[in-house]
């Protein structure tokens, strides 16, 4: 399988503080890699560097074999991102937002693309609604539509189902599974929902204090650490200072 994301020994320092301490990993096409870690472990910084919003202090990032530093625009055309911490303009209708972002990503068949995403994500009835007036679940599906408007090869997801009810959360997870399978895209998923990670991810990286402290398939990590589930593994690794630092 081809690696769509290649991260080679990236570091990020803010002054004397080392936010990310030389981490390396790959994500293959048709793979979902989980990025786990407690708050402040360096997950958001890592995602920021992958999006080109942050400049690594050292190290290289390749997306689809293109070096990010030298091909920012070409790479941004083939990736996208969703996070509960960023929103679409609230006063615009859903359709206007999707149309604007289709233009920014130079989507060719905008009408067909919006129709496709509306059907897949069940937002057809919301197209003429004001984005700011939608419920959390509806906003989440609209944000996901925006994140898929350019048919990304690489999708970065930061807590994609945070604050969603179980039904909508399950709908989003099922959609992501099917979409990844159909389009053979790579997904990097940062989440605190361990059931979600266990269900979706082929493998996971555990981060703490800017370092990768463990990695592997969810079931292998559970066996290795002698715990009942991934949440217990997470808690063990998060709390255990002496073992890993």
């Amino acid at each position: 399988m081809k690696n769509l994301i290649e991260v080679k020994n990236i570091k990020k320092n803010y002054g004397k503080k080392e936010a990310v301490k030389g981490i390396s990993f790959n994500v293959e096409e048709d793979e979902i890699l989980g990025l786990l870690g407690p708050n402040g472990s360096g997950k958001t910084t890592t995602i920021g560097m992958l999006l080109g919003l942050l400049k690594p202090t050292s190290g290289q990032i390749y997306i689809n074999n293109l070096k990010l530093e030298e091909n920012r625009i070409e790479i941004l055309e083939m990736i996208n991102f969703i996070s509960p911490y960023i929103e679409l303009p609230k006063k615009l209708t859903v359709k206007q937002n999707l149309y604007v972002y289709s233009k920014l990503y130079k989507v060719q068949n905008i009408k067909e693309r919006i129709e496709y995403l509306s059907e897949k994500l069940r937002i057809g009835e919301l197209l003429n609604s004001i984005t700011g007036e939608l419920s959390s679940g509806q906003k989440n599906r609209v944000s996901l539509a925006k994140a898929l408007v350019n048919e990304p090869k690489v999708l970065l997801l930061d807590e994609p189902t945070a604050s969603l009810d179980p039904e909508v959360g399950d709908f989003v997870r099922t959609f992501l599974e099917e979409y990844k399978k159909e389009k053979k895209i790579s997904i990097l998923l940062a989440s605190h929902n361990m059931n979600e990670v266990t269900r979706l991810c082929k493998s996971v990286l555990m981060m703490k204090n800017g370092e990768i402290i463990d990695k592997g398939k969810p079931e292998d990590l559970i066996t290795k650490h002698g715990r009942a589930n991934l949440e217990e593994v997470f808690l063990k690794l998060s709390r255990s200072k002496s073992e890993f630092n």
Binding site: Y14, T44, T45, G48, L51, G52, L53, L54, K55, R72, I73, E74, L76, E77, I79, N80, F81, S83, Y85, I86, E87, L88, P89, K90, K91, L92, T93, Q96, Y99, V100, Y101, S102, K103, L104, Y105, K106, K146
Partner: protein, 263 residues
């Protein structure tokens, strides 16, 4: 440069304006109030001073010119701040847009916003006060162009600060024009300023623009040097603002401001 992307970002702001009546009202309301207020002041001075006896419309014309500058600068900052307030900032900067495309789109949108406010204000002056800013003739275009470039320049400088320092720089966005106004010699000749302030005023394009507006209206002559110096200083500050924006963008990428902007 991609016209499609520029058009896309323009649409994002155009939709916002057309969807919100208070926003349209805000664009029209303040310029009209300003012009009405200054129109009465202008009439008062015309009947009480000899300086303005032969040119009743000088103050009013300068008020319109200054308001255009003010609207352009604040308008540009508003477009940038809208992205921060709506927490859309990250979405914009992860879209495959070049800095030049973002700036061009904002510059065009800011012009349209300013014109929406300016046209009703100009139309009001004639029936209310019997004055037409068109008395400035063909040079009106050059004066407006010069003011527009300087307004955009100030907008880009403030946006650079927002990029570099985050939303806390917002208050500077509102105060820039008020800080510069005394040095602009908008309603009085430069000789009115103390000598040290005159030195500062002479390195700003504003003084040349407003001196020339008064010169045309009062003396009925054209001093092409004023227009030339205004454009020269504008070219300098505009280039400086673009360079500073690129510098701030790179600094923000190092500091992490871009990823935290909406939070």
């Amino acid at each position: 440069m991609s016209l499609t992307r520029i058009y896309g970002l323009f649409l994002r702001h155009f939709y916002l304006i057309t969807r919100s009546f208070p926003r349209i009202l805000d664009l029209v309301y303040w310029p009209s109030i300003q012009i009405t207020l200054w129109g009465f002041i202008s009439n008062f001075f015309a009947s009480h001073t000899t300086y303005y006896n032969n040119a009743v419309g000088v103050i009013l014309t300068c008020a319109i010119l200054y308001d255009f500058l003010f609207r352009t600068s604040i308008g540009f900052n508003m477009l940038f701040l809208e992205e921060i307030w709506s927490r859309n900032f990250t979405n914009l900067f992860i879209a495959p847009m070049r800095i030049g495309e973002i700036l061009t789109s904002l510059v065009i949108t800011a012009l349209i916003r300013s014109l929406i406010g300016l046209v009703p204000a100009i139309l009001l002056t004639s029936p209310l006060f019997g004055i037409s800013i068109l008395d400035l003739g063909i040079f009106l275009f050059f004066l407006f162009l010069s003011l527009y470039i300087f307004g955009i320049t100030l907008g880009i400088l403030v946006s650079s600060g927002l990029l570099r320092f985050g939303p806390s720089f917002e208050n500077i966005a509102w105060s820039t024009m008020f800080l510069l106004a005394p040095f602009g010699c908008i309603y009085y000749p430069i000789e009115t300023l103390p000598e040290i302030f005159q030195k500062i005023a002479y390195v700003l394009p504003l003084v040349y623009i407003f001196e020339e507006a008064r010169n045309i209206l009062i003396n009925q002559t054209v001093n092409i040097e004023n227009v030339y110096y205004a454009f020269m200083w504008n070219a300098f500050y505009f280039s400086l603002s673009i360079a500073l924006f690129y510098y701030s963008f790179n600094a923000a990428k190092n500091k992490g401001t871009l990823i935290n902007m909406g939070e």
